[in-house]
Symmetry: C2
Subunit: 111 residues, 2 copies
DNA sequence: CGAGTTTACCTAGATCGTCTAGGTATACAC
DNA sequence: GTGTATACCTAGACGATCTAGGTAAACTCG
């Protein structure tokens, strides 16, 4: 049904998650939903990508997890950005900006 | 020595190659060099990524290869964009634009 | 009340693209 | 004639995402 439009996500997912949490703690499901919402579904994060990514980030000390209750009163694991995660976010944003500009230069050039 | 700055390349390499060849036939080595040059090395394509990518694209009928001689008189394989490759390029450029805009929206948002 | 849907999480294995790290051969510089 | 740059090739490792399953609880609605 939905189109898995992109292998492009590769390498950017971590940054997207970190940025989402920069607004404050959120549980996993909400992160994916939010990313889809604000990008008009240009970014669709599958759960099989999402949860492993969250563990990875937690294991690296970039996120801190805590069990709680969602807005709808279901059990949910809330993730918060650590200071290490904040630093990582800044670096990744820079990398992205540089890379995206480079790719755009090439792809959008009239040539 | 050089920094392999990015897993971000994932998924965009095909488009970058196609676009490079949109300017006219080039041999593999020259494609990688040109991408590095015009992007100030923000995009660095390793040979171990480059050649497999070229085969992939050729196998799919997006490129056509022909042996010849380089500017420096060494044997070199020149790749040219096919019409199928041209069409693919256009689609990939669109996909990139959409995706990059979405990522930028998220990452650059003040939030 | 009970069936179906949504929320929310989890995970093994497949897939696929890139990178590492080797290798060959030729041309030119010195 | 030794070293460097050009130009290509490839096996295997690696790593991130996706597929496709699964669980459990809460709400919806007849």
């Amino acid at each position: 049904m939905t189109h898995h439009r992109t292998k492009l996500l590769h390498g950017t997912l971590d940054a997207l998650i970190l940025k989402t949490l920069h607004q404050g703690p959120r549980h996993g499901y909400a992160i994916a939903r939010w990313l889809g919402d604000v990008t008009n579904d240009a970014i669709q994060v599958e759960e099989g990508s999402l949860y492993p990514a969250l563990y990875r980030l937690e294991r690296k000390g970039l996120l801190q997890a805590e069990w709680g209750r969602s807005e709808l009163d279901r059990r949910a694991k809330f993730y918060a950005l650590t200071s290490k995660g904040q630093a990582k976010l800044e670096k990744e944003v820079q990398d992205w900006a540089r890379f995206a500009e480079a790719v755009s230069t090439v792809l959008m050039g009239e040539a």
